[in-house]
Amino acid sequence: MADFETPEIKEYPVIPHIKLGVMSHSKPFLSKEEFQEPLGYPGELVDDWQEKAYAKMEELLGKYRSFRVYLDSCVKCGACTDKCHYYLGTEDANNMPVARQDLLRRVYRRKFTFAGKYFPKLVGAVDLTKEVLEEWYSYFHQCSQCRRCSVYCPYGIDTAEISMAAREIMDSIGMGQKYCNEIIGKVFKIGNNLGLPEPALADTLEGLEEEVEDDTGVPVKFPLDQKGADILLVTPSADFFAEPHVDGLIGYAKVFHQAGLSWTLSSHASEAANFGMFIGSYENMRRISVRIREAAEELGVKRIVFGECGHAWRVAYSFLNTLAGPFDFLDPNYPVPQHICEVTYDLIQRGVIKFDKSENDHMTLTYHDSCNVARASRMGDEPGGQFRIPREIIKACCNNFVDMPSDTIGEATFCCGGGGGLLTDDLMEIRVKGALPRMQALKHVVENHGVTHMAAICAICKSQFTKVIPYYGFTMDQIVSVHQLVSEAIILDGADTDDDGDSGDEE
């Protein structure tokens, strides 16, 4: 099925020796004019692309302190060299974070620094040639912007900032990536990444209502565009139909129902994801974010809650107030926005929702910290709440929980391998190989602690894992949503007892 070899999971994690250029062939499909134009980018590589690229780089140097400071500050100490999951999985030297940054830093030095202008060989500075541009296109699409390297850098240099800038520069000269840009176009045109129009969405939600009522006997609602609802739920569109995402959506609905909270989805903002971040475009990221504000105003809600999605939560938690704020028209008693886990955790704390944990006894769970939730956001009031709260929820509704090794979770968590705009079939090789460190950690707890399932809190992680774990000998149903566990165990008032459901309640 694939023209590459799945990396072997060794007995212990090893730091590989470098190999040169073994992943240089990995390139996503180029964007076309029809996908570039709605985002404000040229449809194909412009004639004077080199000059335009330099000009864009100069513009970004003036707009982003991170970009400027990080290009100057690296001392090549090597702290990050063994931290990237793509390096560990591919062994390609250019997948070491510093080497990836240097693809761009070399050009920056040549064009914008004294040493690079007059002593290019000494400091390794090069012009932006066609070959260099091809390397950019390849290797800046082998970064999932997960920020693991930035945790270990003595100056906090974040390769994500460099890869976002590189993608923005490439977009501006007409060398965009099809996957991200086509999807952003769909958000602008239809409202979500999947291109699911309002009638289809309404239909899907109706189907879910029937399914849940059949299953539990409780009329749990999935409201759409309901004016005057208290809560606007913004969730990744994968939650509407993909497995195991949709089981998470059912979980949110059951939580709202049992807590008696009034909520609604919006067809205008029927997508939490914001791929504008992946391509480093403030303008596109802002345009996508503003839809959420518009939906909140139009529906007259008091709160905004986000569903399970990693990068969406980064944009929501860290950027939404900046991009689409201020949200002073919402209820000031709640943070804007809130994560569904914050809502659920609070309800658990207050005893509003209760669980029958035995419903999840057939599983032993572990939990995958999503990179963007772990290293680029927070939940709750305390630093580190993003690690504690999802685990507390899982432990509240499951009896069997085991963490993976400590150097693979929390702030040290490994990316699933499919984040940052790489979740596309044309990048299957890098996705499979990039999953290696997480698969290694998963295998450890499966073999030593009897773990049967891994819970995830991000639509991309869930999609990526269900697709790549078969390569490593696991099965796709071993990936579950956090709110799927909530859904299984939550005690709904008026629900059928187990005897009525008999054996028909296992999915």
Binding site: I18, L61, K63, Y64, R65, S66, V69, Y70, D72, S73, C74, V75, K76, C77, G78, A79, C80, T81, D82, A93, M96, V98, A99, D102, T113, F114, A115, K121, L122, V123, G124, R147, S150, V151, Y152, C153, P154, Y155, G156, D158, E161, Y282, R286, Y317, S318, F319, T322, G325, P326, P335, V336, A374, R375, A376, R378, D381, E382, P383, Q386, E411
Partner: protein, 251 residues
């Protein structure tokens, strides 16, 4: 006064100007460049005082590097801490005896620590150099300038150590007169010593390349948004001036 003394005096003035203005230019540039988005690497402090603690732990203890790799940390920290101690020792050349700082600078412990720090610095730098050659990952990312930088600083430390421990014939009273003369623009002769002249010439090179090299990591770390930002985006709206302009047209 010898021609060499004039050359060194002039070179020190020129190098100081390049260093100060070069660094000031970069610091102003960093400070003026907006950070349009909240990007602290989380978990991050939620208060400004928390950020001060985080930054201090990075600058003083190299906290992130410690998490990453104990070898780089031990060699790197040994080198930088020794550099600090050596700097304190060298203050004796520019602090006049009547200064309130003199009792501190002239303390036996400060002088002895600075002297032995020179040895620790050599060990740290040698460790970093060996690592750069031996570890294939680090070798791959190294440019000629990365090796030369280590050699330059190693040579400065080595000549310093030689003067302190072996060739103890440099007239340090005269050296202090030379140094203070630079400060007061009352130029005095430089003691004649091959080691001293090599030591100072290398220091001059270091001063000049500081603002145009990776040594910019020194001011850079303080401006790193992943380390210096407060984690409070929901509580406080963060907006860069250029981003605010985007809102004017199409709110």
């Amino acid at each position: 006064m010898s021609a060499l003394s004039y050359i060194f005096a002039g070179a020190f003035v020129a190098a100081t100007i390049l260093l100060v203005f070069g660094l000031a230019r970069k610091i102003v540039q960093y400070a003026r460049t907006p950070a349009p988005l909240k990007i602290p690497t989380t978990p991050a402090p939620t208060t400004t005082s928390g950020v001060v603690v985080r930054m201090a732990s990075e600058v003083v203890l190299f906290n992130s590097l410690f998490k990453s790799n104990k070898w780089i940390w031990i060699f790197g920290w040994m080198f930088h801490f020794s550099l600090l101690l050596a700097f304190f020792r060298h203050l004796r050349y520019i602090v006049p005896p009547e200064s309130f700082l003199w009792p501190l600078v002239s303390m036996q412990i400060v002088q002895a620590a600075g002297k032995y720090a020179g040895l620790a610095m050599l060990i740290g730098l040698a460790g970093l150099f060996v690592r750069r050659i031996v570890v294939d990952r680090v070798r791959y990312i190294s440019s000629p300038s990365d090796y030369l930088m280590l050699i330059l600083i190693f040579s400065i430390a080595a000549t310093g150590v030689l003067m302190s421990f072996y060739a103890r014939d440099v007239d340090i009273v005269q050296l202090k007169a030379f140094a203070l003369g630079l400060l007061y623009f009352d130029w005095q002769p430089l003691p004649e010593s091959g080691l001293l002249i090599t030591h100072l010439a290398l220091v001059l090179i270091l001063m000049v390349i500081f603002p145009i090299s990776k040594l910019l990591h020194a001011p850079g770390v303080f401006f790193s948004p992943t380390r210096n930002q407060v984690d409070n985006p929901r509580e406080k709206r963060h907006l860069a001036p250029w981003a605010a302009k985007l809102e004017e047209g199409n709110g």
